[in-house]
Symmetry: none
Subunit: 224 residues, 2 copies
Amino acid sequence: MRCLVVEDDNEIATIVKQGLGELQGDVEVESNGRRAYERALTNQYDIIVLDLMLPEMDGYTFAKSLREKEINTPILILSALRELDDRLKGLSMGGDDYLTKPFAMAELQIRVKNLLKRSQKASEITQLVFQDLKLNRLNREVVRAGRKLDLQEREFVLLDLFMSNPNKIIGKQTILKEVWNYDFDPQTNVVDVLVCRLRNKLEKDFPTRLIYTVRGVGYVLKST
Amino acid sequence: MRCLVVEDDNEIATIVKQGLGELQGDVEVESNGRRAYERALTNQYDIIVLDLMLPEMDGYTFAKSLREKEINTPILILSALRELDDRLKGLSMGGDDYLTKPFAMAELQIRVKNLLKRSQKASEITQLVFQDLKLNRLNREVVRAGRKLDLQEREFVLLDLFMSNPNKIIGKQTILKEVWNYDFDPQTNVVDVLVCRLRNKLEKDFPTRLIYTVRGVGYVLKST
DNA sequence: CGCTAGTCTTACAAAACGATAACAATAATA
DNA sequence: TATTATTGTTATCGTTTTGTAAGACTAGCG
């Protein structure tokens, strides 16, 4: 766990550094807003604890600029400004949480832990579930209603796509992009054929259908 | 966006429901802890707003039990308990955020939005609403007064156009451009036919009309 | 009140689309 | 290199969706 604490009050910075250190990880402290911004751009942090009033670049600008650069590292704002307007501003400019000073270290720790948990979860999903269907990304196993299904590579990738977006219509173009990494139309009906093959393995010998066609648009994985 | 509000104070529940409704989505309210738990188990919500003091099952138990069942829907705790210990308990038992009553609706909205963003289910403009009509762009589902309507592709695109411009008159030329991507007049009455078809599905079997003809100009989607 | 231009409705034909099977090409494996 | 497994292509068929045109209808106007 790598953490950046942006805080110009030396005393607070030290306390925070110590408190977050207890969560097992590296904690770096930066007191200058502009320098902190540069560090955030060039390093990968797991979380940023941010004060609002800083020299050279204030916290709002810091958060907003990061988000504009598509850097979505969770940001916890730690500020003496306790007015509603300040909180709203902070939260809408890219802050994920807002804690007012004085604060309890235990609460800061828990909130940081929560933010970390949330951002790790997305990339860690190893098993997808939809109704009686289970797909395991690690061992490439697909099971429906207890029975193991033997899917080919392409079929597996397609099913992963469907199960990552249940109840959403997936266009043929999207499928071409995600499964074949094509950005063009191959002028054949590969997609239809693949769907047909997947269906055969997925729905044949089972009472309920899973993949529905939406004419002229694409396919959906949905119930009933 | 689908949201569950677990709150036994009727007044607060109503306010929250209204406030979250502004974020475009379905909001369900449940006042009983145990029943809320069962609903959370059997339904897929994008976020849960949770009071702590509830009949039959308290909020802590609710959150903890859900997490044990590996249901990781973001939970925002909304509670009158403002002591540090309560906050810590709530946050460590599965809550992702903790807001104390009394609260500002604007802050609740922003915090909910943030949680949704983190869990990828971003609150994009995916759902259009007009009166008792709902159109979902992701699954191409159109519902009027709770009843699902089965629209064709062209009809769907046309309705999307109307719902994106409520109370505005849409000229036939605009419709040709937006639905067919024609820049010319096909010299037939396609548009009229399509509107007719859409109306049949949209207004037949319902008490109120939605699409009105403006002779010589075009059509409008409006109320009364 | 009757005319007219614009709109609605219906039925039918044409086109588009998707499912599937059979075959071809390519990749993997021995 | 031969053999097999996997993936891609093409063709056909049935179905659904869409476009067209002809006639009925209606609002607005003289």
